[in-house]
Symmetry: C2
Subunit: 433 residues, 2 copies
């Protein structure tokens, strides 16, 4: 007897999945017991990078999720619709689902997992965050004995590629983005990546698993990398930092249980060059997990691409099949979702962190004094201040790094500084980890 998979989508990821099943030698011994029985595509005539028997290919995707012979529906179409409806229909039909769709899970995870629980089926999502890095299973199972306090990650390959090139080559954002687009590392419309939407989707999923609560995507503070210039990268270097788009999720303890909450944010971040995420370059993703009693664990690997994502999809498929083989009518609690409550997430104003700011001022005596007074007035202590030579048109560039301060105090100080007559502009404000 074989277990029958209905594969929705034969793009990059779907092709990768099909190729693994076509060459099972040297892989997990369960693979030959699994069959890709049906493949759903948008266009039947498109040239494919993998040979699939035409008889099992259909453009009627609904027929796959409705087919009683299918045990597991693998959704690798991407995008919200029709993916979301197909997932829900598959669940309604009692099928297990494996999905790589971070956008759907981050937005409709609640609805999907509630439906899955009612029907007693699995919804597996290893491929939905960080591609090939096995971080989902690690959070769900391997670190189950731990109380996770922090999860920090480079979870978007496109922005990490751009920032790595800016760091090593001194190039500016626009030129590097254009190059990344030419090389296929960035989409024609790069918004999802460079503005942090994709990273926020993934952090919703990762934080939910790390902290055992449901997370609302809209509660996550999000900021992209468009404002980063080569000047910022150079100052960061000089100060012993690199700049990465980080997802940061932290458990914030409090004496009063009611005050305990999470902090989840996605923004470009200065990180010290000795930090374990500082040397993750190019499209590579990495996640650093801190917990009690384990301490620090770092996982890195390819965050996207055909092979890496397919590896994660296949891991989920064999996990489901292994359970189906032994316990067809029971749910393994480690593989299901046990979250019932939404986490309390603090607004960004409550965050306590260090800041980096680059300011352009009129080159007049007393400028530094004015800045210092404004910061001091709002209880913002400074860690470092760099003043470079006048750059042009009588403007001086000043870079400050604060000590740990509340976001609210810092923003108030910045508002005060914007009103200083000596100030020209504040091109960049970044957080520091």
């Amino acid at each position: 007897m074989t277990y029958k998979v209905g594969l929705l989508g034969l793009g990059t990821v779907g092709t990768g999945v099909a190729k693994i099943f076509q060459a099972p030698a040297g892989r997990h011994p369960l693979l030959p017991e699994i069959e890709i029985a049906l493949v759903g595509v948008r266009s039947l005539n498109k040239q494919r990078d993998v040979a699939i028997n035409a008889e099992i290919v259909t453009d009627d995707l609904e027929s796959i999720v409705n087919d009683p012979a299918i045990d597991i529906v693998v959704e690798v179409i991407g995008g919200i619709e029709p993916a979301k409806s197909l997932i829900l229909k598959a669940i309604a039909n009692g099928k297990h689902v494996v999905t790589a769709n971070k956008a759907v899970i981050a937005r409709y995870g609640n609805e999907i997992f509630t439906a899955a629980k009612q029907k007693g089926v699995y919804v597996m999502l290893e491929a939905a965050a960080c591609g090939g890095i096995p971080v989902i299973q690690v959070l769900k199972q391997s670190l189950g004995g731990n109380r996770i306090s922090e999860l920090t990650g480079i979870v978007n390959g496109t922005t990490n590629y751009i920032l790595s090139r800016m760091y090593f080559e001194g190039a500016d954002f626009g030129a590097t983005l254009a190059e990344a687009q030419k090389l296929g590392y960035a989409e024609a419309d790069p918004t999802a990546d460079v503005d942090g939407f994709d990273a926020a989707d993934k952090m919703t999923i990762l934080a939910s698993l790390a902290f055992g609560d449901r997370i609302k995507l809209e509660d996550i503070y999000r900021e992209g990398i468009r404002s980063i210039t080569s000047a910022d990268i150079n100052y960061a270097k000089e100060l012993g930092f690199t700049i990465k788009l980080l997802g940061i999720a932290r458990r914030v303890e409090a004496k009063d249980a009611q005050d305990r909450h999470l902090e989840i944010r996605v923004h470009p971040t200065l990180i010290p060059i000795q930090h374990p995420l500082a040397n993750i370059h190019g499209v590579t993703n990495a996640v650093r997990i801190e917990g009690d009693p384990i301490g620090e664990v770092v996982l890195s690997g390819p965050g996207a691409g055909s092979g890496a994502t397919a590896s994660a999809v296949v891991a989920d498929i064999i996990n489901v099949v292994a359970v189906l083989k032994s316990l067809p009518n029971q749910i393994n609690q480690l593989m299901g979702c046990s979250h019932e409550h939404y986490a309390k997430i603090a607004p960004i104003e409550n965050t306590v962190t260090q800041f980096y700011a680059r300011l352009l001022t009129h080159d007049k005596p007393g400028v530094i004094g004015d800045l210092g007074t404004a910061f001091g007035k709002h209880s913002v202590s400074l860690n470092a201040i760099l003043q470079k030579n006048t750059i042009h048109d009588g403007l001086a560039e000043i870079v400050v790094v604060t000590q740990k301060v509340s976001e609210l105090n810092f923003q108030q100080a910045i508002a005060t500084i914007r009103d200083l007559p000596t100030l020209h502009s504040i091109p960049t404000v970044l957080r520091v980890i």
Copy 2:
């Protein structure tokens, strides 16, 4: 209903395990359904770092593995006996086993897993290699879709601590070992660590899971770090390398299926400073896995210690309990062992790798020519040659790094060089990755 654990051993790891179950808040929701029902210790009077109800503590370890109420036996005693016999008796009594015992698994895994298969019980070993790093489950499940081609690891914390300090402080091996012993990072008898025995045990386990075959410990080539001097570390630095005790396991392909084999070795290794394992310092462990289609994944974290190892033990316990809860009489194939054959492992002579050698020669004209001729005669091409100023007593220090050559050719060249009248001695020979 709770699931009953019999804990054998209340040392560092056992204490860590007990502490996790005593404070389940914020950890996996399955924990409160699991009870440490019995604890076996060698001495009932020893002061412990954790409060355990005296009524459940016994020094009759056999009584625990024979107790019909116990579902899972957790063996964290260490050492070969009585651990091995207790594990086998627990299996014979139909109990699932969780063990952190790399020495027993590396030597008697065959017997133990065969017995477990016959009785239909799990033997879980996440804690037996690399402590808290969840590499066992990753190999068994998360990377199941991949054909693993190489697994390379820093799998011994003691030697990595020593080599890191030698690298950063320029200290010599003996002094650093003494310091490590004083700080508790090395045992009074450091043999198991510094001579690579512990690393070889772990590589037996990791390679078996990566490549899906049983591995005989005695087939693994093993070399420790006692010969490394600060001079070698400095030369390595100058050449762009660091020195680590690496476990290296590789699948060697061949056209003829009969010629396919594995290469598994543990030895101090020069690794380029950009290599993902080069910046793993101190007692941290890390494993780099290369597979198709995933590419490269790196996992790092604490390789030993109470909390990290306990984290791995508890992960195994909840994995077993999750399965027991859903259906007690079936085996999940992903958690069992499916290996039936021993791998074919090549002798070290067949290895093809780069070498580093430090030679002391009499400072006479023609020395370099003599060396070059000797290497050339055995088809050993050189990548780099460094000759420093005469150091003392008319001796010159020469360092060579070869291109990739067969171990056999290299050793023959070294034998020829040992006979050269201009040679004084060859203090160090190391391999390069």
